[in-house]
Symmetry: C2
Subunit: 187 residues, 2 copies
Amino acid sequence: MRADAKKNYSHILMVAHEVVAERGANASMRDIARRATVGLATVLRHFPSREALFEALLCERLDALTQTAEELETSRAPDDALVVWVGEWVGFAQGHRGVVAMMAGAHANPDSALYASCAALHSATARLLRRAQSEGKARADMDGDNMFALMTALGWAVDQPSFAPQAEHLVHLITSAIVTKRPCNNS
Amino acid sequence: MRADAKKNYSHILMVAHEVVAERGANASMRDIARRATVGLATVLRHFPSREALFEALLCERLDALTQTAEELETSRAPDDALVVWVGEWVGFAQGHRGVVAMMAGAHANPDSALYASCAALHSATARLLRRAQSEGKARADMDGDNMFALMTALGWAVDQPSFAPQAEHLVHLITSAIVTKRPCNNS
DNA sequence: ACCTGAACACCGTTCAAGT
DNA sequence: ACCTGAACACCGTTCAAGT
């Protein structure tokens, strides 16, 4: 990449960070171009889709998140790890308006620039659940897909203005539904 | 309303029904106008916002849904009523792509044309929960707001292509987390 | 190589002009 | 009273023309 291109790239990314913080994940590409005093076409070639932009924008954060999951596998008891993990995820969702909905979409099609990150989160989640289940600390009648779906739904919910105030309690309701401190069959 | 206006109104509504069935809740108003062979401005005066259109489009269905909740209060045991109710809601969500997300937004601001319907669903839900709680059939550490949030999140989830296949099981996971057949403290 | 302005096909909003 | 075409300000996509 040429020097001026590289400079543009990182400048656009910086500006995008600001704009997204203000307007959320539906901010227009044109707005970002304008604020970066750069042609819209320039933004679009560096980031051919909105998801490509967000992939670049969030990759460090998403990698860190996935790594957190891996660390939780060894640093915490299976049940605690699961609870903390859901908390981390919800924290991420709260800090990035509209991103969870975007990721839910990206999770569906492998062509999305965000697909790999979604898959990584998915499998990290599945491992934490499996670990807890193997010690009888999570309900046995669900799998990683279900866990990921519930977490994503929860992330979406706390992102809605009408539900945001309940965020903390919703996390508790979901986690306590998944984690079983003592064997107890409520089915 | 003049005769020709009334005719336009119902014709637009009929066409909108088709278009929404095909393209989901994000179908463009222009598309609807085109298919109805009517000026876009005509659509916009009959239905000043997308939500106004959906209010007209869904009001019978939403009323029926709310009424179902009321009937469940008397026709079913408190725990069964709650489970059936969530099933009804999810069925609605599955049949109307993108509508749950729209309603989550409408629920937040009283100016929305869909606000009243959301409020009705909300309170019907809260009543069913309260009834179950009073007989010890639903977990006590949640309120109607939480229940509505969880149901909406669930409705959103089953509306996502990536999660749709799990719909039935997700319903089971959520309902079994809320309904307590026997007293059992997992907190 | 990289950038850009312009043209394009869309969207919802608004309103003066028609019947 | 009701409808409509047109103008407007947006959006993302594409590409020929510039450096």
